[in-house]
């Protein structure tokens, strides 16, 4: 193609526009995300009562020591976050996938089922709390009626008994998470080229083999999104336990402890910041891992 000169790709104006389009979001990100983040990290090494700036005093690692050694809810919270992650990864996400695969078949009323399973994702927090309250209540809850224990002394107090309430909360979380995962996988399944399935069928693969060897690997981009979403959801899990009892009595989660220590009259800024920093560091590990994996591979492939 001899006539095609090397064109100057960007005019001066384009450059200015581009620079602005990059600079403004970056600036916003810096001011509203990175600056507060760095400030919280800084405050996690200080003692401060939240009044005058001159009251800020350095505290070294005291806040972290306090959290790890003296703050009883911390380790249960870490365990619960891990449990949350495992439960979502092992139960909720596969359940969402299963729903997606089932609804992807040409069954009657598929749309209706999709809507039903997706509704929990759209409901407001307050409503979710009310719905599960109706289900789990000790005296008049549906679950105790179904178990035949309602209004007897053996009625289980699903939210109040710290041996079971984390499981009750996990079921409620699954209810939402599975619907979300289902929707993403439905979109993913629609995007898989039917020719792949036909080819697999021609090669004599059964339905299971077709799915696990051909369709599932073909959805790699969706899978990565799902993995990241599952991890992030389990780290920032907060709303359901907060609605139940503000994350106390067996429902401790790191995020709930951050709120407890940072918001309100009873704030302890140093301790709250230390908890927030711990949560940040934990979150960074999987996020960085998957981002480098995704972008690393794409960079190699291109």
């Amino acid at each position: 193609m001899p006539r095609l000169r090397k064109v100057r790709r960007l005019s001066r104006r384009d450059k200015i526009v581009l620079a602005l389009m990059v600079a403004i979001p970056t600036l916003i990100e810096l001011i509203f995300v990175w600056l507060p983040t760095l400030m919280s990290v800084g405050l996690s090494f200080a003692k401060w009562n939240g009044l005058a700036l001159s009251d800020i005093r350095g505290a070294g690692l005291d806040n972290y020591k306090y959290v790890a050694q003296s703050y009883p809810p911390f380790w249960p919270a870490v365990q619960h976050n891990v449990l949350w992650l495992v439960f979502l990864a092992v139960i909720a996400t596969p359940l969402g996938l299963l729903l997606a695969v089932l609804l992807d078949q040409k069954i009657r009323g598929s749309r209706i089922y999709q809507s039903i399973f997706f509704v929990p994702v759209m409901l407001s927090l307050a409503l979710v709390g009310v719905i599960w309250q109706l289900f789990y209540q000790r005296d008049h809850g549906l679950l105790n009626y179904l178990l035949g224990t309602a209004e007897t002394p053996s009625a289980v107090d699903w939210f109040g008994d710290s041996n079971v309430n984390i499981w009750a909360a996990l079921v409620a979380a699954t209810w939402r998470h599975a619907g979300y995962v289902m929707l993403l996988y439905l979109a993913g399944l629609k995007g898989v080229d039917p020719a792949l399935k036909e080819a697999a069928a021609l090669d004599g693969a059964n339905a299971g083999q077709t799915f696990f060897r051909v369709v599932f690997p073909a959805m790699r981009p969706i899978n990565i999104v799902i993995v990241v979403i599952t991890i992030i959801e389990s780290l920032r899990a907060f709303d359901i336990v907060y609605v139940i009892n503000r994350g106390t009595n067996g429902l401790e989660l790191i995020s709930a402890l951050v709120i407890q220590n940072l918001v309100g009259e009873g704030q302890v800024i140093g301790v709250g910041s230390a908890l927030a920093t711990i949560l940040l560091v934990i979150s960074l590990v999987p996020i960085v891992f998957y981002l480098t994996r995704t972008f690393g591979k794409e960079a190699k492939e291109s």
Partner: protein, 441 residues
């Protein structure tokens, strides 16, 4: 944390917030203008008392009384004051949870001249930080209206007066009179009586002591009372302010004493709110229930309400039943408000029977604090509550008002919840947490 009644408010406060922010901004402007109009001299006339004559002064009043009834009650006080003094009061109502959560930034920003708050450590803390204006001159006028216990509760850490009490409400055991008469139960005055009575109730198939601690704070009432009855009022207050260590046998004794009651407390406590527990008391499923007198709000059936009675926490070791837990709500002046004579006049007015009658005429669920307030309209139960407070030698403010809020919220709630569950408590850990949190202030 909630003040003890905030659990009862279920009104949608969102629309109101928006409205209030708008009026807040507007009135801040007016307030600034108004303040500029006041001669600087007024700051120096502190001891002069109310200057009744000159009208047209103004003040701003920040109120966290956002529920309908208290809101109208404070409006009645404001109306009465405006009528009497000719001053103009601009009221800014903020939903009470927001108000409490933002108190730090509120007091450092541009607070109203006068505002609603609580007695106890929660007041003394801000007084100690210099964010409040002392009102010794106001107290010279209204001092005779208050008992010594109330005066003590209104004093800051520097010995100056800061607070003007409006109303309070006692904590005690509530029960149904007819139910007890029918079963032959009598009011216990000592801890041993209480245990005997509870054992009898349990044998009769009733849950002896109604209990609810899903929200975490109600259990503090039991802790406060056992500590005061066992170790005395001063020890309790010092412990709350962390002048005493948590890691000492006296504190362990509180929990050991409490342990004797655990088998009689409602085992479902951690799953229910105080509203639930109040219903159980009304339904005669529980025998008695230790809570603030706001528990009566839950008895909507007038027949039930009429036979609800109250007895003070039984004596254990020291000071008999001298101390009572009766959180006091009232007014404070911000640092800025201390320079506004009209604001001082407003606080002085709040400390009179006249103002408190105006308040009680609307909100009858609390007890007026000023001597000479009209008690003729009190229900028999309110009269009994008022007498209990008037006869008390010491008034405690409830743990979350007597202690650092972070101590109450972040340390005591989980500790008491786990104590209720399995009867274990680690006082060494309580002390190490307290040491860190109080040092951070």
């Amino acid at each position: 944390m909630d003040t003890h009644r905030s659990g009862s408010s279920s009104e949608p406060s969102f629309t109101r917030t928006a409205l209030d922010r708008r009026t807040l901004l507007k009135t801040l402007g007016i307030g600034a203008v108004g303040l500029a109009g006041i001669p600087m001299l007024s700051a120096c006339t502190g001891g002069a008392g109310p200057s009744g004559g000159s009208s047209g002064k103004s003040l701003t009043f920040g109120s966290s009384a956002s529920d309908d009834v208290p809101k109208r009650a404070y409006q009645a006080v404001v109306d009465a004051f405006q009528k009497k003094s000719g001053d103009t009061v601009t009221t800014n109502v903020v939903p009470h949870n927001d108000f409490q959560n933002k108190i730090n930034s509120y007091l450092q920003g541009s607070p109203d001249d006068a505002f609603t708050w609580f007695a106890g450590y929660r007041m003394q803390y801000y007084a100690g930080k210099g964010l409040l204006a002392p009102i010794d001159d106001v107290w010279q006028q209204i001092g005779s209206n208050y008992s010594d216990a109330l005066k003590k509760a209104s004093t800051g850490p520097d010995g100056k007066m800061y607070f003007v009490p409006n109303y309070n409400y006692p904590w005690g055991f509530f029960y149904r009179k007819s139910f007890w008469a029918e079963k032959g139960y009598t009011v216990p005055t000592t801890f041993d009586d209480l245990k005997t009575l509870a054992a009898k109730m349990k044998k009769d198939g009733i849950i002896p002591i109604g209990y609810a601690d899903k929200d975490g704070w109600p259990a503090m009432g039991t802790f406060d009372y056992i500590n005061m009855r066992l170790n005395g009022y001063q020890f309790h207050v010092d412990l709350c302010a962390h002048k005493e260590s948590w890691n000492q046998p006296k504190v362990q004794a509180v929990f050991d004493t409490w342990k004797a009651l655990l088998p009689y407390q409602d085992p479902a406590a951690l799953g229910q709110t105080w509203q639930d527990a109040a219903q159980l008391l009304g339904q005669k499923k529980t025998g008695m229930y230790l809570l603030g007198s706001f528990v009566t709000q839950q008895f909507t059936d007038a027949a039930v309400l009429a036979e609800i009675d109250f007895f003070p926490f039984p004596s254990i070791a020291v000071e008999g039943q001298d101390s009572i837990e009766a959180p006091i709500d009232g007014l404070l002046l911000s640092k800025k408000g201390g320079q506004n004579q009209a604001a001082k006049d407003f606080l002085q007015f709040m400390g009179t029977p006249e103002a408190q009658n105006a308040y009680y005429a609307v909100d009858t669920s609390n007890i007026a604090t000023a001597k000479g307030a009209d008690t003729s309209k009190f229900s028999p139960l309110n009269k009994k509550c008022a007498d209990a407070i008037a006869n008390a030698k010491n008034i405690s403010q409830f743990f979350d008002r007597d202690a650092l809020p972070a101590m109450a919220n972040n340390v005591m709630i989980p500790a008491l919840q786990s104590f209720i569950k399995d009867g274990t408590v680690d006082i060494k850990n309580l002390e190490s947490q307290a040491a860190t949190l109080y040092a951070a202030q």
